[in-house]
């Protein structure tokens, strides 16, 4: 859309290869269809369930037991997603961007072949190309995985309640899904191969794990599934999972209605003909290395988003990189995308917002003696009345002593962590120091004042 503003002739090729179970979706990419949007809505559904429980202590009286209807929630979520898909179609059309629901692949210099779902092929040429094909969930490669397991691609439109669920993985996708399913009243177990939330501050990752465990989610640590079999067909059916320990030869078995795989995502770069135009990719990970102007080794081909090597996999980062790229190419601008101090939030039952360095990475980069960590537990006022946990919420900032005690890491664990973190991210971009933070008077009573 940005390029169209500069009167360039633009075409978008978007195609969703169906999941092993046959699921597909509309225009908008992962975030809109099977990522951030449905995830946050379902996380909200789970939070509302908790709020209903809390409300009794605040004086709301209702005698019925409150139950959750999976189909009602899924229908509302999918409806919203549908309106977003449609909104994008209208938006592209209004800005004169040609859209084809077709699978694009390079067949030669400056040439792409587009195949639609009916198998009809067309060729297109262009001056420049932007690849933003994203990633798809990885499967385990064990017997029964593609036939019986689901991934996040299937979860948010599942036409039946998943029931007793085993989540395999310890990524933020795994923990967020486990958290929201448990929050909706389902029995959830998480099978973890080694550590939780690799790449995130481990001190906080462990607190998140503890909180989830104390709130009814079982964790099976240091095991990996080796086989999934179907005991009974159904919606949901019954599955038997066999797993082996990573530290010995111990084998365990478990029965679940649904197995959700969330062990990582692989870049969609292997089947789009990059070899035909000479674009180099990292053979091992499939990711595309680019320079700081998002250009691949082929000058007329650019890339943004999750497929980039060594860059953060976040929707707003991809959007920003894409917009700035176009402004540089056609608007004469020079701004490059700033990948430093990008704030993120993990929407586990206890939300985690972060910006900047984790404690481990800060110590590694600056040395333990140059780092000062300030931290505190806090008890949200809203949690006092319903007697919810009083020592689980936590905030920590990491400062670089050598640089005026500049805040280089911000971490908060508690309700509305995302909302809190956004403001502090802006402050960090301005070079926030501990002294400035201390001299900012807090808003009371809110969690962020800590």
């Amino acid at each position: 859309q940005e390029a169209a503003k500069y009167e360039k002739k633009v075409m978008v090729l978007d195609f969703v290869v169906p999941t092993p179970l046959g699921n597909s979706w509309g225009l908008g990419g992962t975030c809109v269809n099977v990522g951030c949007i449905p995830k946050k809505l379902m996380h909200q559904a789970a939070l509302l369930g908790q709020a209903l429980q809390d409300s009794r202590k605040y004086g709301w009286q209702f005698t019925e037991q409150v139950k959750h209807n999976w189909m009602t929630m899924t229908e509302s979520v999918q409806n919203h997603i549908g309106s977003l898909n449609w909104g994008y179609r209208v938006s592209l059309r209004e800005k004169n961007v040609t859209y084809e629901n077709a699978y694009g692949e390079f067949v030669g210099p400056h040439t792409v072949k587009a195949r639609n779902k009916r198998g009809v092929e067309k060729l297109y040429t262009a001056e420049r190309f932007l690849i933003a094909t994203g990633e798809r969930p990885r499967y385990l490669g064990i017997p029964g995985d593609k036939e019986y397991c689901i991934s996040s691609d299937d979860l948010f439109s599942l036409p039946y309640c998943p029931g007793k669920t085993l989540v395999v993985g310890a990524s933020y996708v795994a923990l967020e899904c486990a958290g929201l399913l448990a929050g909706l009243g389902l029995h959830v177990t998480v099978m973890v191969r080694s550590i939780l939330l690799r790449g995130f501050d481990q001190d906080i990752a462990n607190k998140i794990g503890e909180y989830m465990e104390e709130h009814g989610i079982s964790f099976i640590r240091e095991f990996v599934p080796i086989k999934v079999e179907q005991i009974e067909k159904g919606t949901p059916g019954r599955l038997k999972v066999t797993a082996r320990s990573t530290t010995g030869n111990q084998i365990i078995e478990g029965e679940y209605n649904t197995v959700l795989l969330a062990i990582g995502r692989d870049a969609c770069t292997r089947k789009i003909g990059l070899d035909k135009v000479g674009v180099k990719i990292n053979e091992k990970t499939g990711k595309i290395p680019v320079n700081d102007e998002e250009q691949t080794n082929v000058p007329y081909i650019y890339a943004v988003g999750d497929i980039l090597q060594d860059k953060l996999e976040l929707t707003p980062v991809a959007i920003q990189a894409g917009r700035l790229l176009v402004q540089r190419l056609y608007g004469g601008a020079t701004n490059k995308c700033d990948y430093v101090n990008v704030p993120t939030t993990v929407f586990t039952p206890l939300e985690y917002g972060a910006c900047g360095y984790s404690e481990e990475t800060a110590v590694e980069k600056f040395g333990e003696e140059n780092i000062e960590v300030y931290h505190s537990h806090f008890w949200p006022l809203e949690w006092t009345v319903p007697s919810r946990d009083n020592n689980k919420c936590y905030a920590k900032i990491i400062c670089n002593i050598r640089d005026n005690e500049r805040v280089i890491g911000f971490h908060v664990l508690g309700p509305s962590a995302g909302e809190i973190t956004q403001g502090f991210a802006a402050a960090m971009k301005c070079g926030l120091t501990k002294e400035q933070l201390d001299s900012t008077i807090g808003i009371h009573p809110v969690c962020a004042e800590v």
Partner: protein, 122 residues
Amino acid sequence: MGWEEKQVRGYPEFVQTAQRYHGRPIFALFCGDKDAAGKSWCPDCVTAEPVVRKELHNMPDESVFIYCLVGDRTYWKDPNNEFRKNLKLTGVPTLLKYGTPQKLVEEECFKAELVRMLFTED
């Protein structure tokens, strides 16, 4: 078989007609009432109607096109009228594909390309 048109006035008649054709693609154009001379109180509806009519042949076979007059201006301005409350309409003219989130509102209905997209979208 092609497509057919049904003209209705008011909310209950609209719902009844839509339900009768359940199972077939249903497209609906909502406009303000017309006076004795056949002119609507809603100027945008006057502009949109011919544009929409010109694209009707793009609707899939078996489609039903419901042309619905919502009421007079006073009724429409009431924030609690049934079209606003139940169908979530925010303005007239509105052209929508019944049972989906796909719709075009006000000036969007003037654009033949968008109307065509609504009628032919999978």
